[in-house]
């Protein structure tokens, strides 16, 4: 009888374990080891090879629903670029909240770099409807798509944008994407203009981008929280001063998120194993009881 009770435990016990397993790692980082995979390392090394003369185009192609996965990628890449003095042009092509995400990430990161000047070291051009058309037009000139930046300043008045005319002046495109927009960056922009493209994708869509990596249409791939945490780890290992930043309790990072993911997965798997063990014990007991009765 006792065994039956174990199989049918109150589902709220499972809920409680998941709640704790998600919250605790966010508040008290465990710091599970993170090993990096080649697609993440290749993006990291690409950024490492760039310097203050170079320009990265960072496109926010996701909305609030996938922010837990995409935002840490954006933050780690932006910090990496700013630390190396790389110039960054930020745009948003995702209709539902892309520009909000971009604004929030910039507002979060730029105070860490008081020496940077908006318009000189980075530019925030805002959102444009119709991603595919916008991508093609930016190959001609950014100003065709974004006549003014997000603060309504004409592009001609922005020093950085005076020398960044089109993709020819961009050394790397990074798209943080929740859906098909990443494919367009590879199929339209990389194929036509040759600018290297890297993608930070959600875990759900990451597998289909392996084909793009193999064909060389993408030079790097961060898949979901796992990929984001790998990038964070690489940045921290190369620039140790980030460790302090990433360990602060009030900051959400992919490393913490990945801890929570791993713990939750472990909890679920443990419950499955537990359920099956008890199930097996019940069956053995019943079989023995059956033999006795017979």
């Amino acid at each position: 009888m006792k065994l039956e009770r174990l199989v049918n435990i109150d589902r709220r016990i499972v809920y409680l374990c998941i709640a704790v397993g998600t919250t605790l790692p966010l508040l008290l980082p465990i710091g599970l080891p993170v090993s990096s995979t080649p697609p993440v390392r290749s993006l990291f090394e690409k950024v490492e090879s760039l310097g203050p003369e170079d320009v990265v185009l960072l496109s926010f192609d996701y909305g609030p629903t996938t922010a837990p996965e995409n935002t840490p990628m954006a933050e780690a890449i932006l910090r990496h670029c700013f630390t190396r003095g790389i110039k960054v042009v930020v745009i948003a092509l995702f209709p539902i909240g892309g520009v909000t995400m971009a604004g929030e990430v910039l507002a979060n990161i730029t105070p860490e770099y008081p020496q940077l000047q908006e318009g000189v070291d980075y530019a925030f051009l805002g959102y444009k409807d119709g991603a595919q058309a916008a991508m093609k037009q930016m190959g001609v000139a950014f100003v065709n798509v974004f006549p003014v930046d997000n603060g309504r300043r004409p592009l001609g008045e922005i020093p950085l944008m005076q020398r960044v005319v089109n993709y020819d002046d961009v050394d790397l495109i990074v798209t943080l994407s929740t859906n098909v927009i990443a494919e367009w960056w590879a199929n339209l922009v990389n194929a036509q203009f040759g600018t290297p493209v890297a993608v930070g994708a959600t875990a759900v869509s990451a597998p289909k981008y392996y084909a793009f990596l193999d064909s060389g249409q993408m030079i790097g791939l961060l898949g979901g929280l796992k990929g984001a945490s790998e990038y964070e780890r690489l940045v921290i290992d190369r620039y140790p001063h980030f460790a302090r930043l990433y360990d602060r309790p009030g900051v959400y990072t992919a490393i913490k998120g990945m801890d929570a993911q791993t713990v939750d997965h472990a909890i679920i798997m443990a419950f499955i194993l537990f359920g099956n063990t008890v199930h097996f014990l019940i069956r053995r007991r019943d079989r023995r009881a059956g033999l006795r009765d017979a």
Binding site: T22, P33, T65, H265, I272
Partner: protein
């Protein structure tokens, strides 16, 4: 009887064939080209408008139901009141924005770039409620996995093993599992990828082909007037 049953059925037959026939025709075709163009461009827009009108039917049903509940003081009537309050406030902001009355210029962003009341409600009431409800899935997926994944028979065991491998392979757990063997940390992630791209794809493809045939067959039944449950009418 003719008007109530035969007219809708005749319309169904004619309107249903239009997209099928025009699908294969060219908009460049002589004589019928403009008609093909019309069917492709305009009709779709018409349908969107009809669907727009339908929403009010639902609103009427909700208001009637809630008012009845409040009037008769049925159990839980205060909740019907909070429903109506939410509906009236949010709906009013929406309609005023559509009519561009007074300060309600624009639905989500005011002309000065600030937040409209509609947007404030969306961001601080509507979106958090959506996200909270959506995130309950993390709890439910765990309890469903615990209860359902048992070694009962061959089918259930296959289900369990596949789920288990993929769950492990998607996190660092998969790397730890065989990490002590040379190259072992790649094993489970590789098996996960293989399951997703080969057997899983085969199963999905089989389901999709079958379901598409079923859907096409249903279409044909509706166009021919054999299936008409949705009209609420039978011939008997």
């Amino acid at each position: 009887m003719f008007w109530k049953l035969r007219l809708p059925l005749a319309l169904t037959f004619i309107v249903g064939l239009v997209p099928i026939v025009t699908f294969f025709l060219s908009t460049q075709a002589p004589v019928i080209g403009p008609a093909v163009q019309f069917a492709r461009d305009r009709v779709e827009r018409y349908m969107v408008i009809i669907a727009g009108f339908a929403l009010l039917l639902g609103v009427v049903s909700v208001v009637q139901g809630s008012v009845r509940k409040i009037e008769r003081r049925r159990p839980g009537w205060p909740f019907a009141a909070s429903l109506l309050a939410g509906l009236v406030v949010m709906g009013a902001f929406g309609i005023l924005s559509a009519m561009r009355v007074g300060p309600f210029q624009g639905l989500l962003t005011a002309p000065d770039g600030g937040m409209t009341p509609f947007f404030w409600m969306t961001r601080n009431l509507f979106n958090p409620l959506q996200a909270a409800m959506f995130s309950l899935l993390a709890f439910y997926i765990a309890s469903a996995a615990f209860r359902a994944f048992r070694v009962r028979n061959v089918e259930a065991t296959i289900l369990l093993i596949a789920a288990f491998i993929v769950m492990a392979g998607r996190t660092p757990l998969g790397e730890y599992a065989f990490g002590w063997l040379p190259g072992g940390e790649r094993w489970l992630p590789a098996v996960t990828d293989w399951i997703m791209t080969v057997p899983n794809a085969a199963a999905q493809r089989g389901v999709i082909i079958g379901a598409a045939l079923g859907a096409a067959s249903l279409s044909l039944r509706v166009i021919l007037g054999i299936e008409r449950s949705y009209l609420g009418t039978t011939e008997k």
